[in-house]
């Protein structure tokens, strides 16, 4: 069923039964990293505050802070996410939750949706989630994760493997995600669908020239390393993830230039910031 039809049904139901329904809420789920203040350090308050204006009650939002340097199923990753979502749903009476994920946060959320029997809190979360809007999710992994695992096992001690990489980077290697997508995660091609919608926003390019105003949205990133890292990526990528990975699970919502102002492209950094009207698009979806 298309997103448009689902939205229509949801709107109709809201108009019909709105008085007996409880609240709509939105959750912001960060990507790889151990966050303690994701509002400021990952999303920025201007992004969060803009999006949540689309809620009937703009206080019904939560910014997740978890350790997504762990494997997605870890108690500090999916366990932490489940705890914060579960408490948010129960404490604020949320029955219509829209989850916004960025990057690896999409994998952690997809873990919860795919493994409802892993944790007794998961069914409550799934049953109260309208859908997930996955901003640049790393659903098929990234070759950049493969490239940074280093060393030759015949030439060095076996301990090299855990030398410095965190488990989340290791997990986002392409062949690791092949395994998890074939086994523990749903929503990829040929596999059963997820119990809720998982709608992808795909970033398709990076504008890095200092002369382009596009490059400055979200804070100018020194792009000198980009000419190196792009060699691992397809022509369609957001500078960190191939478009195929971003749209590798769930359903396509839109490629950045379909909906952004003036058809601008979203780099991986920009797809979590209020760049090119992305915040308004997400706000209007609540």
């Amino acid at each position: 069923m298309s997103r448009f039809i689902r939205t229509g049904i949801a709107l109709l139901a809201l108009l019909t039964f709105g008085s007996v329904w409880s609240a709509t809420g939105v959750a912001f789920v960060h990507g790889t990293g151990k966050q303690t203040d994701a509002l400021n350090d990952y999303w920025t308050s201007s992004m969060v505050n803009s999006v949540r204006q689309g809620l009937p009650n703009s206080a019904n939002y939560i910014v997740i802070n978890c350790d997504f340097e762990q494997y997605m199923w870890d108690s500090q990753a999916a366990g932490c996410l489940a705890g914060q979502l579960y408490n948010f749903i129960n404490s604020r009476g949320i029955s219509d939750l829209v989850v916004l994920t960025h990057s690896n946060g999409g994998n952690v959320m997809r873990w919860i949706l795919s493994n409802p029997t892993w944790d007794s809190r998961y069914p409550t979360i799934i049953n109260n989630t309208r859908w997930v809007n996955a901003l640049a999710p790393s659903s098929l992994g990234t070759p950049l994760a493969d490239a940074v695992m280093q060393g030759n096992i015949f030439e060095a001690s076996l301990g090299w493997l855990l030398g410095y990489q965190n488990d989340a980077v290791r997990m986002q290697q392409v062949s690791w995600m092949q395994n998890y997508n074939a086994n523990w995660l749903y929503g990829t091609a040929g596999r059963p669908s997820l119990p809720t919608g998982f709608w992808n926003v795909v970033g398709t390019d990076v504008v890095s020239g200092f002369w382009s105003s596009n490059a400055y949205c979200g804070g100018y990133q020194y792009q000198v390393g980009l000419e190196i890292t792009q060699n691992w990526l397809d022509s369609c990528s957001d500078g960190f993830l191939n478009c195929s990975s971003q749209n590798g699970a769930g359903s396509l919502w839109f490629y950045d230039h379909w909906r952004t102002s003036s058809g601008r492209k979203l780099s991986h950094h920009q797809s979590r910031r209020n760049c090119f009207n992305l915040d308004v698009i997400l706000r209007n979806d609540l």
């Binding site: 029997t117 410095y164 059963p192």
Partner: protein
């Protein structure tokens, strides 16, 4: 004439389910993962890491994305290789084969916490005997640091220098020297050739194996048109914590790897096993070197399906599977349930899962399709239960699969809630 309600139809179906033993297993397929019997003694398996103790069941409407086929076994390609070295050896100079122009070269400390600061002033780069200037202003290579790459999301160590070789010509040998690192400092050099026509391939038929099973992989060098055996292949299976490795043998034609998954699996922490393969081959005057790795799920036979199954329709469709457990843990059944539409065609109905902590011995896991989901689908018996999977949740391993699964209530085809039948 007697008209039956939805409820009475459901009861009729339930009666049919329980009456004539209508739950019938389909023959197992060649691709199914099977455990014929559990080991006589408690299998050597890692401890179960499950945190949930409550039984949980869940089902949702089944839809399958048919835009592409279901994933087959894992497969990887590589145009890159790594060389481990030391500060002393890289100061003396490393000779690195190249198969194309435009290679990316990265030099890093092997471990992130080395505190090493690689000095670009000590770098010398020579291609086929001709030195390249290492300053961009001199028309040479442009160096980037670990921080530059980290800013792009590439989490290399901070102690990193990287550069791209010229995109012209047909280079064959890179001589790389870097002075200034401590002699015994473990270092790694990573060579990636994005423009090379030659790549390594590594693939397996399955994503998952059990302890003691044979493992087979395809390995080759290729340019897309030709596929040939490398002159040198080394390969190992590595535990998730990289603490143990088991050699894999190269087949006589040089295009296959074989080995046996160890019978006793170490307590090696979470994560996947990996096959690492190192290939070197020559085409004309081109020496091609490629490193590959492939992630595999490997588990111990901690439980199995005992091939008993029963179904009832007390509260929707309930299916009980007999599970024989060797080692306690949290186990999960999952299955696709298909039902029959008014035209007699099988349609996807529900994805269903159930998990519980089970003790050694005979157990049951029950999956269900709740009555509201069943009613909303409009689908009726016969049902097919496909892609049945038994998993060890606490050890994150796939134990058994039955792609064809089982059939329920085949003699009552066409009955559906709400239909009227005359007797």
């Amino acid at each position: 004439m007697i008209k039956f309600t939805n409820l009475s139809i459901l009861l009729l179906i339930a009666g049919s389910v329980s009456a004539a033993g209508p739950v019938e297993w389909m023959p197992a397929g060649a691709d199914d993962l099977r455990i014929e019997s559990l080991p006589a003694s408690v299998p050597a398996a890692p401890p179960s890491r499950h945190a949930e103790s409550e039984p949980v069941r869940f089902a949702w409407p089944l839809e399958i994305d048919r835009s592409a086929p279901a994933p087959s076994g894992p497969a990887m390609e590589s145009r890159q290789y790594w060389v481990d070295t030391t500060g002393l050896d890289i100061e003396k100079g490393l000779k690195l084969p190249l198969s194309s122009a435009g290679a990316i070269v990265r030099i890093s400390a092997l471990h992130a916490d080395s505190g090493l600061m690689l000095d670009a002033a000590g770098l010398q780069v020579d291609i086929d005997g001709s030195a390249l200037p290492v300053t961009e202003s001199g028309g040479g290579i442009r160096l980037v640091t670990g921080r530059d790459l980290q800013a792009q999301g590439m989490s290399v160590p901070t102690d990193t220098l990287a550069f791209q070789l010229p995109e012209q010509g047909s280079p064959r040998l890179l001589n790389l020297q870097l002075a200034g690192a401590p002699a015994d400092q473990p270092m790694v050099v990573h060579v990636f050739e994005p423009r090379s026509e030659w790549f390594g391939t590594l693939s397996a038929a399955r994503h998952d194996y059990l302890a003691g099973q044979n493992i087979a992989l395809d390995v080759a060098l290729s340019n897309g048109d030709q596929r040939f055996a490398a002159q040198s292949v080394q390969a190992v299976l590595v535990s998730p914590d990289a603490d143990q490795a088991w050699p894999l043998e190269l087949s006589s034609d040089g295009l296959g790897l074989q080995g046996v998954v160890p019978q006793e699996l170490p307590a090696s922490g979470p994560g996947l096993y990996e096959v690492h393969a190192y290939l070197e081959g020559r085409q004309g005057d081109t020496l091609i070197r490629r490193d590959l790795k492939l992630a595999l799920g490997i588990g111990a036979a901690t439980a199995r399906l005992d091939h008993s199954a029963s179904a009832s329709m007390d509260r929707g469709l309930m299916i009980d599977f007999g599970v024989e457990v060797a080692t306690s843990g949290r186990f999960q059944m999952s299955a696709q349930v298909w039902g029959t539409d008014a035209g007699g065609e099988l349609r996807p109905l529900a994805m269903t899962q159930s998990a519980a902590v089970l003790a050694p011995g005979a157990n049951q896991l029950q999956v269900e399709v709740p009555s509201d989901l069943l009613q909303a689908s409009g689908l009726v018996a016969p049902f097919e239960v496909r892609d049945i999977e038994l998993r060890d949740q606490g050890r994150m391993s796939l134990l058994e699969t039955r792609h064809a699964g089982l059939v329920i209530g085949s003699e009552r085809a066409g009955l559906r809630p709400g239909s009227e039948i005359e007797y």
